[in-house]
Symmetry: C2
Subunit: 375 residues, 2 copies
C-alpha cells in the first residue's frame, strides 16, 4: 500500500502582487509526473487546495486539470479535505459525482466518523471547522478552544474505530510545537490555535495540512507534508515536496520526497551597486527575490533598476536606513503578538485606557469574520 500525502497547494496565491499560478502549474506537472512513476494507491490532499474561498477561474481550471490527470487518466483514488483558506461549499461542488470515480471530497463535520476504505486502510477526514461550527455540531457550548474542538471530534470518531485496521486521520490544524511560517493565515483570533499531539492517539497515522514546513513537528506518526511551494520569504530554504507512506503486513515506512520548483524564493543581501553590476552572490537570477541592500539612498526608483536585471524581484528593503524605532520585520516582540493584541496595544497607546470587554469581543468577532471570508 503506497499513500501519497500532500497539502497547502494554495492555488491562485499572489505573493507581493505577483501571481504564482505559472509556478503552481509547473510544480503540479512535476507532481503528476512523479505520480506516474510512483503509481500510488491513493493521494491525500490535507486542505488549502485554494488560497481563497472564492478562487479565480484560472485556479479552479488548474485544480480540475490536475485531478483529471491523477484521478481520471491514472485512475488513482484521491481524498481531499478543506483547509482554513478554502471555501468549503465551492470546494465541495460536485462531490457526489466525483465520488463515483473515487475522488473523495470531504468538507462536512457530518461525515468525519465515516471512513473511506481504500486497500486495508481506513481514512478519516476531519475537515477544517471553526470552533462555533464544532460547538453547533455537538450542541455543546463548553467547547471554546481548538484543543477541545479537536478532542471532541476525535473522541467521536474513536467510538467506532476498528482498531484491528490501520486508521489514518487527515486534518488541517496547528499542532503544538510546530514551526510556523508567515504565509499560514491564523486559524482564529483570540484563542490558542494549537492542539496537543496526545489527542491523535487513537489513530495509527496522521496526515496534516496548515503548517508549511514539511518537518514542522517531531513525531513518529504525525506528519505535515508541507506546502507545494515556498509561499513567503520566511519559507526560504524550506524544502518542498510530498510525503509517502508505505505500509505492508510487516512494517510501515514514511519519507519526504522533494520536488524542484521552476523558481525559488531567495533573500539576497549586499550592496546596491554589486546587485546592479551583477556581482552580488545569488543562486538564480530568475528566482523570486527579496533584496536587502545597502548604499542606495541616492538612487531614484531602485526597484525599477533591479527588476530590469532580476525580473522577479518582489521585495526590497533598504538596510542602511535605520529608523529610531525597530522596523516591524525585526521587532520580535511585535511579531509574537497576534492581531487582536496589536490592536489592543495601539488603542492603549492612543487613549491611555484599555479596550473594554465588549470592544475586545467585537474586534475578535470582526477579525474572525475576515478570516472566514464569508461571502
Amino acid at each position: 500500500m503506497k499513500i501519497i500525502h500532500t497539502a497547502d497547494w494554495h492555488l491562485g496565491r499572489i505573493l507581493n502582487g505577483k501571481s504564482l499560478l505559472e509556478d503552481q502549474a509547473y510544480i503540479l506537472d512535476e507532481f503528476v509526473a512523479a505520480m506516474q512513476k510512483e503509481k500510488p494507491d491513493v493521494i491525500v490532499i490535507a486542505g488549502d487546495v485554494y488560497d481563497t474561498s472564492y478562487p479565480s477561474k484560472a485556479a479552479i481550471m488548474l485544480f480540475e486539470e490536475t485531478i483529471n490527470q491523477l484521478n481520471l487518466h491514472m485512475q488513482i483514488p484521491m481524498i481531499v479535505t478543506n483547509g482554513n483558506h478554502d471555501g468549503k461549499e465551492r470546494l465541495n461542488y460536485g462531490a457526489k459525482w466525483f465520488e463515483k470515480s473515487q475522488m473523495y471530497i470531504r468538507t462536512e463535520l457530518a461525515t468525519m466518523a465515516t471512513p473511506i476504505n481504500i486497500g486495508n486502510v481506513n481514512f478519516y477526514c476531519l475537515p477544517f471547522a471553526t470552533i462555533s461550527e464544532v460547538q453547533a455540531f455537538f450542541d455543546d457550548k463548553t467547547i471554546t478552544t481548538h484543543q477541545a474542538a479537536t478532542q471532541s471530534c476525535i473522541t467521536y470518531m474513536a467510538e467506532n474505530l476498528d482498531t484491528s485496521q490501520f486508521n489514518v486521520l487527515i486534518g488541517h490544524m496547528t499542532v503544538q510545537g510546530g514551526t510556523r511560517s508567515d504565509s499560514e493565515r491564523p486559524i482564529s483570533i483570540g484563542t490558542v490555535e494549537s492542539v496537543e499531539q496526545d489527542v491523535f492517539a487513537p489513530f495509527n497515522y496522521v496526515m496534516l495540512g496548515h503548517l508549511h514546513h514539511p518537518f514542522s513537528i517531531d513525531s513518529e506518526f504525525i506528519h505535515y507534508s508541507g506546502s507545494l511551494l515556498q509561499y513567503s520569504f520566511s519559507e526560504v530554504n524550506q524544502p518542498k515536496g510530498y510525503r509517502m507512506l508505505l505500509i505492508d503486513e510487516m512494517e510501515q515506512q514514511q519519507l519526504f520526497i522533494p520536488l524542484e520548483p521552476k523558481r525559488q524564493l531567495e533573500v539576497v543581501e549586499g550592496d546596491y551597486e554589486a546587485a546592479i553590476q551583477e556581482i552580488i552572490p545569488l543562486k538564480n537570477k530568475e528566482n523570486y527575490i527579496h533584496f536587502k541592500l545597502k548604499n542606495m539612498t541616492h538612487v531614484t526608483d531602485p526597484m525599477m533598476h533591479l527588476k530590469q536585471i532580476y525580473p522577479n524581484t518582489l521585495s526590497l528593503t533598504n538596510v542602511s536606513f535605520n529608523f529610531e524605532t525597530a522596523s516591524v520585520e525585526n521587532n520580535t516582540e511585535l511579531r509574537e503578538l497576534n492581531d487582536s493584541e496589536i490592536i489592543n496595544n495601539f488603542y492603549q497607546s492612543m487613549t491611555d485606557s484599555t479596550l473594554s470587554e465588549l470592544q475586545h469581543k467585537k474586534i475578535v468577532q470582526l477579525l474572525n469574520d475576515l478570516l472566514e471570508g464569508e461571502e
Copy 2:
C-alpha cells in the same frame, strides 16, 4: 421518449436590489416535483443556468442540489449548455466526472459535432460563443455576424448528421422575429444578433434558450422554453414553465407546461392614497410590485410607506410628475437603440461631431468585454 426542455434559470439573479434566490429555490422544488411525476427520459437546460459568470456560493449550491435530485436521485440524464450569462469554465467544472452519471455539460465548440445519444435521439449542443470564438474555431475571419457564425456551426454539424435519426439541436441565441424582454442581456454590441430560422433546417427539432417568453417565435420545430421566472417587469403576464417533447415511432407532440411561482411580478397603477388604504386593485400583496402612482408629490418617502404594506415593492414611478422630455421608459425611440448607438448619439449632442471609426470600434470592444464578463 419524453424530453423536458428548460432554460434561462438565471440563478442568483438580483432584481432591483432584491435577490430572487428564495423564489428560484421554490420554483425549482416545483420543477423537481413535476419531474417526479413526469419521469422524463432526459432534461435539457439550454443555457443561462446562472445570472453571472461568477455565481455566488448560494447560487451554485442551489444548482447542485437541484441536479442532485434530478440526476442522482431520480437518475434522469441531463444535458446542460452555457448561455451568454454563464461563465463557461465555471459551469464546465467537473464535467468529466458528471458525465459518468449521464449529466452532460457542454460548453466547448470543439464538441458541437459530437452528439449525445439518449434513447433513439441525437442531441447536438451548440454552446453560446462570441463571434471571435467562432472565427478562431473555424480559422475564418470572414465570419462577422451571428447569422454567419451560427450558419458555419450548423453546416459543420450537418456534415456527419445521420438523417435516419431524430436530431435535436440545443442552443442559446436570438432567432429572428422573436419577442424580446428587458432581462435578456444583448448577446453582442455592434452586430445584428438574430439568426434566421432557415439555418436550423438540418435538424428535426431545436431547443433554445435566451429569449424569456416561451412563445417568442412561431415555428413548428423551433422552440424557446422561456425562463424559469419572470425576470423583469417587461415579462409581467408572461407564463413561465417548461416544455415537453414526446416522440414515438408514429408522431411527435410538444407542449408548454406552466409552473406556479411563489410570487409573480406585478405592475400596479392608480392613486397613492388607494394603495396606502389597500383599496387599489392588485392580484397579490406579496407579489414583486412596480407601482405607477398618481397624487403622491406631497408624500415624504412614499417607497417606505408602500413597503410597510406591500413588503416586496421593488419599484415606484410617480406618473403625475411629467418631465418636459419623455422618460427613458416611455421613450420608444431610445428603447430601440442599442448601447453603442446611445453612446454615439450622446457624443454627437455634446460635441456636434460623430465618433470616429476608431472611437466607435473601441467603444464596441469595451461594451463587448463588459458583456463577456472576463475576470
